[in-house]
C-alpha cells in the first residue's frame, strides 16, 4: 500500500473573491466556503476568521483542528465512512496544505470544558512558541458555526465535525498547481536483522461511550471494538477519527501522527515498522480482558513484533487498559514502552500516581501532567462564539494542560513534559 502526499506550503492566507493557492498565498472566498458549509441544514449561520502564526490571539472553545487535505486518487474518498461513503484509503495520492489549520469552534461547550488554542501559548519559559505547540506556527482559518436550536447534543457535535472536515476538504480542493514537495509512505521490506516494532493505538476510551454517528474507524463508532490491525497509511489518510471530545488529540495530530511518522522515518534504518494495532479502552471488565488477550496475540503472532509502542486516549482510566495490553505483550516476550501522563495533583507530589504498577512496565514516556495549569496573559484578540466568552478570556486566564490545544499530544507529537523535583 503506497500513499503519496503532495504537499503545498501555505505562507499567507487572505480573503478574496475566488478560492485558490498561488505561490504560497492561499486566497479564500468567504462566500464560497460559507455556501459549502451551509449545505448542512443543521448550521444556520457561519462566522469565518483568520489568525496568523504568533498573533496575540486566543481561539476557543475549540471543537477540532484539521489540516486541509483532499484525496486526489482515488478522488472523493475523504474521511470515508464519515464525510464520504466507505472506501479504502491509504493509497494513491492526497493533496496536503501545510502551514494552515482549520479550527471549528463549539458554540455550546460543556461547562468547565473550554479547550483553548492560544497562538502564543508558553507553558515553559524561554522557549519559542513553535516549540511549545505545533499550532503556534500555523495560519488558522476559524469556523464559528451557529447551530439549529432544535438539535440534540449528538446532532450538534456531528454537525460540527462535518463542518470541520468539509472546510478542510474545500480549501485543499481549490488549491491546485504544482506541489512544493512529495512524501511517500510504503512499508517496503526491511533488513530481517532489524528489530520489529509495532504500534498499539488506543483510539478512544469508552469511559465516555461513543454514540451512533460518532465514527472512529471508517465511520464505525468502535463501541465494542476488538483490537484489529490497520495499515499505518490508513491512519494518515483519513480512515481514523478522534471522538467528539477527545482531549490532547485533534484530527490534525492524527493526520500527522507522530508515532507513525517516526516509525516510518526509522523503518529500514534502526527498526522494521511491523504494523499498527488499533484498540479502545473498554468499560466492562470482560471486554477489557478480552481486548488484552487479542491485542497481545496480534502484536506477538500476527505482527511478529519484538517491541511495541503504546499510546492512550481520554482521561485516567484508560491508562489501565494500555498498561494491561502492554503487560500482556511483555509476558509474551515483546518489550514495550508507553506514552502516559502523570495523574497526580500538584498539592503534594512526593509520589506520582499511576493507575498501574508492574515491574515489567519500566519504560514510560511522560506526556506531562493533567494538573499543570498554564497561565495565559491577556491577549489583544479572542475568537469565540459569543461576546461574553471573548470578554472573559481576553484577560489573564489559565487553562489546564490537557485543554490547552497543541500543548499535550497523546500521539507523541509534543515536547511538553513534566517532572517532579
Amino acid at each position: 500500500m503506497k500513499l503519496t502526499w503532495r504537499i503545498h506550503r501555505v505562507q499567507a492566507v487572505q480573503w478574496a473573491d475566488e478560492t485558490r493557492l498561488s505561490t504560497g498565498a492561499l486566497e479564500v472566498s468567504r462566500a464560497q466556503l460559507k455556501g459549502e458549509l451551509l449545505k448542512d441544514e443543521r448550521l444556520t449561520a457561519v462566522g469565518l476568521h483568520l489568525a496568523s502564526p504568533g498573533e496575540s490571539c486566543r481561539i476557543l472553545p475549540v471543537f477540532d483542528v484539521v489540516e486541509p487535505r483532499v484525496k486526489l486518487e482515488p478522488a472523493g474518498a475523504d474521511f470515508p465512512g464519515v464525510l464520504t461513503p466507505v472506501r479504502p484509503v491509504g493509497m494513491g495520492a492526497t493533496r496536503v496544505l501545510r502551514g494552515i489549520a482549520v479550527d471549528v469552534l463549539d458554540p455550546n461547550p460543556m461547562p468547565n470544558r473550554v479547550p483553548i488554542l492560544d497562538l502564543r501559548i508558553a507553558p515553559v519559559e524561554g522557549a519559542e512558541p513553535a516549540e511549545q505547540s505545533r499550532y503556534s506556527s500555523l495560519h488558522h482559518l476559524v469556523v464559528v458555526p451557529t447551530l439549529n436550536e432544535g438539535l440534540d447534543i449528538n446532532e450538534r457535535r456531528n454537525a460540527l465535525r462535518l463542518a470541520s472536515l468539509r472546510a478542510a476538504v474545500f480549501l485543499a480542493q481549490h488549491a491546485d498547481g504544482k506541489p512544493d514537495e512529495e512524501q511517500t509512505f510504503e512499508l517496503t521490506p526491511a533488513n530481517e536483522s532489524l528489530p520489529r516494532v509495532a504500534y498499539v493505538f488506543q483510539l478512544h476510551s469508552h469511559q465516555r461511550p461513543t454514540v451512533p454517528g460518532e465514527g472512529l474507524l471508517y465511520g464505525d463508532n468502535c463501541r465494542h471494538l476488538l483490537p484489529t490491525i490497520v495499515q499505518p497509511n490508513e491512519v494518515l489518510d483519513g480512515a481514523v477519527m478522534r471522538a467528539y471530545d477527545s482531549m490532547a488529540m485533534e484530527t490534525y495530530s492524527i493526520q500527522n501522527h507522530a508515532v507513525i511518522l517516526d516509525l516510518y522515518r526509522r523503518h529500514g534504518r534502526d527498526l522494521c515498522f511491523a504494523g499498527v494495532v488499533v484498540n479502545v479502552a473498554n468499560q466492562l471488565p470482560e471486554e477489557r480482558d478480552r481486548a488484552t488477550v487479542v491485542a497481545g496475540n496480534l502484536v506477538k503472532y500476527a505482527l511478529r513484533a519484538d517491541g511495541a509502542v503504546f499510546t492512550k486516549s481520554g482521561g485516567g482510566a484508560p491508562h489501565v487498559d494500555m498498561a494491561l495490553a502492554a503487560e500482556r505483550c511483555e509476558e509474551l516476550g515483546v518489550k514495550t514502552t508507553m506514552l502516559a501522563w502523570d495523574l497526580t495533583s500538584t498539592d503534594d507530589g512526593a509520589e506520582g500516581a499511576q493507575l498501574f504498577s508492574s515491574p515489567l512496565l519500566d519504560a514510560i514516556i511522560s506526556l506531562g501532567s493533567n494538573n499543570i495549569d498554564i497561565g495565559l496573559p491577556a491577549v489583544e484578540r479572542v475568537i469565540a462564539p459569543s461576546a461574553e466568552l471573548a470578554e472573559r478570556y481576553q484577560r489573564d486566564a489559565s487553562v489546564p494542560a490537557l485543554r490547552a490545544v497543541g500543548v499535550m499530544d497523546h500521539l507523541g507529537g509534543s515536547r511538553f513534559t513534566a517532572a517532579f523535583y
Binding site: 507553558p123 515553559v124 522557549a127 516549540e131 511549545q132 528489530p195 516494532v197 507522530a258 508515532v259 517516526d262 516509525l263 526509522r266 534502526d270 527498526l271 519484538d306 517491541g307 511495541a308 509502542v309 485516567g316 482510566a317 518489550k335 514502552t337 508507553m338 502516559a340 502523570d342 495523574l343 497526580t344 495533583s345 500538584t346 498539592d347 503534594d348 507530589g349 512526593a350 509520589e351 506520582g352 500516581a353 499511576q354 498501574f356 504498577s357 512496565l361 519500566d362 519504560a363 514510560i364 514516556i365 511522560s366 506526556l367 501532567s369 493533567n370 494538573n371 499543570i372 499530544d409 500521539l411 507523541g412 507529537g413 515536547r415 511538553f416 513534559t417 517532572a419 517532579f420 523535583y421
Partner: protein
C-alpha cells in the same frame, strides 16, 4: 576550602546505645563513627570541622530546644556544608536529621543534606523542604551514602541546579514543573524502546508508585450480628451537593442518612470521570441500598449503618486518598461499624 559539619545521634556518635538516647547536644572535633569514612571521601581543601551529636530521645522529646542547641554548636563551627546522618530506617534519628537540615538551611543559609530510607517518618514530614537522599535499610551502605551526600552537598554549595530526583537519588520535593524535552514524545519512546530491546540502560520518565498496604483484617466472624456500612467513591451526593464534594481530587468525604431506598430525584453525581447518567437514573447502581436492606431484613447482616459515606475518587493524589480513607475509617469505627462495602466506578 570547605568546612563540613556532621550531625550524628548518640549511637553513631559512639556515646552509647538506646540507654544513652537521652543525652543532650554536644560537639567534638574528633573524628567519630561515620566521620572516619567521611574523612576518606574528602577532597583536598575540604575538612570535617566538627561533629555535633545528640541523643535521639532528647531531640524527639523537645525538638525545638534541641534544634536550637544543636544549631548553636553548628554555627560555631562555621560550616560551608552540613550533613546529617544518614539515618537509614531509624525514625527518631531521621526526623532529627531532617529538622536540623531545615533549620540550618533557613537560619545559616548553607546547603544541608541528609539521607534515609523511604519509610522513615523524616521523609514524610520534611521531603518538601529538605534534600533527603534515598537509602536502603542497611547501614552497611554507609560509605556509599556518605559519598552521595558529599557530592550533593558540593553541588548545592556550587549553586549547580540539581537534576531530577530519580537521577540524583533524592526524594521528590513535591514540585511539579512543566518542561520541554529535547525531542517530541514519539521520538523519545522509540529511542527508549530500542535501548530496551538492545539491553542498553535507559531511564523511565515516569516512576511507578510503591504501595505498602496494611495486613489484611481478619474475616468477619459473625455477619448476622455485624454492622455493615456502604461507602462509595463514585461521588453520589444529595441534590445540590450541599457539602461541596469536588468533581475531582475530592478533599473531603461526607456521610448522609439513608432510609430504604435512594430516590433518583434526591441525588446527584459529583464525579467527572465517568458517564453519570446510569447512576443518576438509578443510584442503586452505585450504592446498593435496596439489596443491602433486603440482606438486613433477611438476617444475613446484623444491621445496616444508617448513613452512606461518599467521596470522589477521580484523579486524587495518593496521599490525599490515604487521608480520606483514614478519616472514613475513623468515622465508621466511632459509629460501631464492623465491615464496609465500598463501591467504586
Amino acid at each position: 576550602m570547605a568546612r563540613i559539619v556532621l550531625y550524628l545521634n548518640q549511637f553513631f556518635g559512639q556515646i552509647g546505645g538506646e540507654d544513652m538516647a537521652g543525652v543532650g547536644p554536644r560537639f567534638t572535633t574528633e573524628v567519630v563513627g561515620p566521620g572516619r569514612a567521611l574523612i576518606g571521601l574528602l577532597e583536598p581543601g575540604e575538612g570535617l570541622a566538627a561533629t555535633v551529636i545528640c541523643g535521639d530521645n532528647y531531640f524527639a522529646e523537645q525538638p525545638e530546644k534541641a534544634a536550637a542547641e544543636c544549631l548553636g554548636h553548628i554555627r560555631l563551627a562555621q560550616p560551608d556544608i552540613f550533613l546529617a546522618g544518614p539515618a537509614f530506617n531509624a525514625g527518631r534519628y531521621g526526623v532529627a536529621c531532617a529538622a536540623l537540615c531545615k533549620a540550618v538551611q533557613s537560619q545559616l543559609g548553607i546547603p544541608a543534606v541528609t539521607a534515609m530510607y523511604d519509610e522513615n517518618p523524616g521523609v514524610d514530614v520534611y521531603h518538601r523542604e529538605v534534600i533527603i537522599l534515598r537509602t536502603g535499610q542497611s547501614a552497611a551502605a554507609m560509605r556509599d551514602v556518605l559519598d552521595r551526600m558529599l557530592r550533593l552537598g558540593r553541588k548545592l554549595r556550587a549553586g549547580e541546579p540539581l537534576g531530577k530526583p530519580q537521577m540524583e537519588g533524592y526524594f521528590p520535593q513535591g514540585r511539579l514543573e512543566a518542561e520541554l524535552a529535547d525531542k517530541p514524545a514519539a521520538s523519545r519512546a522509540l529511542d527508549m524502546l530500542l535501548a530496551k530491546l538492545a539491553g542498553q540502560p535507559f531511564q523511565t520518565e515516569l516512576a511507578l508508585p510503591a504501595f505498602n498496604p496494611p495486613p489484611p483484617p481478619p474475616a468477619v466472624r459473625d455477619l448476622a450480628h455485624a454492622k455493615v456500612a456502604l461507602v462509595t467513591d463514585g461521588g453520589l451526593v444529595p441534590t445540590g451537593n450541599p457539602d461541596g464534594i469536588e468533581v475531582s481530587a475530592a478533599s473531603k468525604f461526607a456521610a448522609y442518612r439513608i432510609e430504604d431506598r435512594l430516590e433518583p430525584a434526591d441525588y446527584d453525581v459529583s464525579h467527572g470521570g465517568y458517564d453519570n447518567r446510569y447512576v443518576k437514573q438509578d443510584p442503586h447502581r452505585l450504592v446498593p441500598l435496596d439489596v443491602a436492606r433486603e440482606l438486613e431484613r433477611e438476617g444475613r447482616i446484623g444491621q445496616l449503618h444508617d448513613e452512606f459515606v461518599t467521596t470522589t475518587g477521580l484523579a486524587n493524589p495518593v496521599n490525599n486518598s490515604r487521608r480520606l480513607g483514614r478519616g472514613i475509617a475513623d468515622h465508621l469505627k466511632e459509629a460501631g461499624v464492623d465491615a464496609v462495602i465500598l463501591t467504586s466506578t
